[in-house]
Symmetry: C2
Subunit: 252 residues, 2 copies
DNA sequence: TTCATCAAGTTGTCTTGACAACTTGACCGT
DNA sequence: ACGGTCAAGTTGTCAAGACAACTTGATGAA
């Protein structure tokens, strides 16, 4: 069993790719041990330092962890942030202790501005908590009106059907007063103050493909997040500028 | 010039520490080149792979970058998130294009609940934008009332005087109506809806040492942040669970 | 049955050596 | 003066080898 020594792709990257696809294929499951460095070196007819380079790469990508004296183990993958939902994933939302549910108020309808509009509402113990209105750029999401919006999360749909993954997302916080529409949907008096979160997703080459407005009541529920400062001497270096700041002040 | 081969600290870590302190001391400045791997190996009487392990460590910590064929260069340090301010740093706040200023309304006064209370207000073009009330646990911040709160950022003070750095910070978003106090401080009518951000900083062993309430007007200004999802196959792996989620819904 | 010891196995550190791929600057020709 | 070529220098990749430090499981003794 050999790697392709004449390929321009370095041997260690070939091995890393192979190990990664074996992990993805379930050959090695979460918390299970991959073959030892010496075994992999024998198996692939390469030196142990080359094996270490490959496993180093996967360790740094969070897929493997090494335990000195024991071996190298597959780590549980951290779920990527789902910036299209409130609580991480739609599944987590409906399974949480909150007895929360997400209902689709209207599927993708094409608007005159060239966007598909989707409305959904979240309830906790049958109390309406928030209304979310999503706008999908119709040219980038062709046929969205023909897609089922309840079979999987919106992020999964965007990724699997349209092959788009956001590289960043802006969230803007403001306050608004409930008009008749919001009062009706959220079942509260008009002129109740509501938290408004405008979210805009940025994809490679398509900075304004998808945006959402989330209007929430904060009288019975709170909306929070946790920030993690990365300090100068920490283990993992974040990419340049890619840390979430607490809040930035901008004029309207 | 030798490293201490009988120390339990591996040679590569000793070299990394030495290089780091030389960078910190200004021996090598931003964008300048450190000695080549071969030169460092000669200089310190170690092998070149050991030098690479040291520079690898600093590369992964974001302090060095390697340019193949050219050498190894000092990178500009990314500022850590300042979770005690709105716009990153107090200095950035007053220097921004916004003509913004931060004024101290009241210095650290000891309250009956065992916290020092600090109030400050932000203005843009002399328009009051927000009021921030900070509560410092008096036992953890002894003598805070004797400290100048305007010479440096609060984060710098907390770090340099009290040797505390937050490992995380919670932000909770809700809405409130301006009472007479807020109406006065922010110069707007009573019953104006305001955005309320409750921020709680967590330190090692001291989960509730410092919290803040920030009350903002959103009629003329918006408050935003940018999220950066880390995807499964990205270069840099974030620590387990340490990505900022968009928002999490919790009952009051 | 429990605990201590030891051997085998595994990762962590380090060495010397070599070639590949790239960068940069000097030199030469037009 | 400008452009091309080449040599020297530098990082990137890879190898074989060795010892240190740790883990784990098996075995033997109490």
């Amino acid at each position: 069993m050999r790697l392709n020594a004449s390929s321009p792709i370095p041997l260690y990257r070939q091995l890393a790719d192979r190990l990664r696809s074996e992990i993805d294929a379930g050959v090695y499951t979460i918390d299970s041990k991959i073959p030892s460095e010496n075994d992999l070196a024998d198996q692939f007819r390469i030196g142990r330092p080359t094996v270490r380079q490959a496993t180093d790469l996967l360790v740094r990508q969070g897929q493997l962890e090494r335990r000195r004296g024991s071996g190298t183990f597959v780590k549980k993958a951290e779920p990527a942030i789902d910036v299209l939902s409130l609580a991480g994933t739609s599944a987590a939302f409906s399974n949480s202790e909150l007895n929360a549910q997400l209902e689709l108020l209207s599927g993708a309808t094409l608007e005159s501005n060239g966007h598909y509009c989707v409305k959904r509402r979240a309830l906790v113990d049958d109390i309406p908590v928030l209304l979310e209105t999503l706008h999908f750029h119709a040219e980038l999401f062709p046929g969205l009106d023909q897609q089922s919006l309840t079979d999987r999360s919106l992020s999964a749909l965007v990724k699997e059907v349209y092959f788009l993954e956001p590289i960043s997302a802006d969230q803007t916080f403001s306050v608004l007063m409930a008009d008749a529409h919001y009062a009706n949907v959220l079942d509260l008096p008009e002129q109740t103050p509501l938290l408004h979160v405008h979210r805009r997703l940025h994809f490679h080459d398509n900075p304004d493909a998808l945006h959402a407005d989330i209007v929430c009541r904060t009288d019975r529920f709170e909306f929070s997040q946790t920030l993690y400062p990365t300090h100068a001497n920490s283990h993992a270096s974040s990419k340049a500028g890619q840390q979430t700041q607490p809040l930035q002040l901008k004029p309207l």
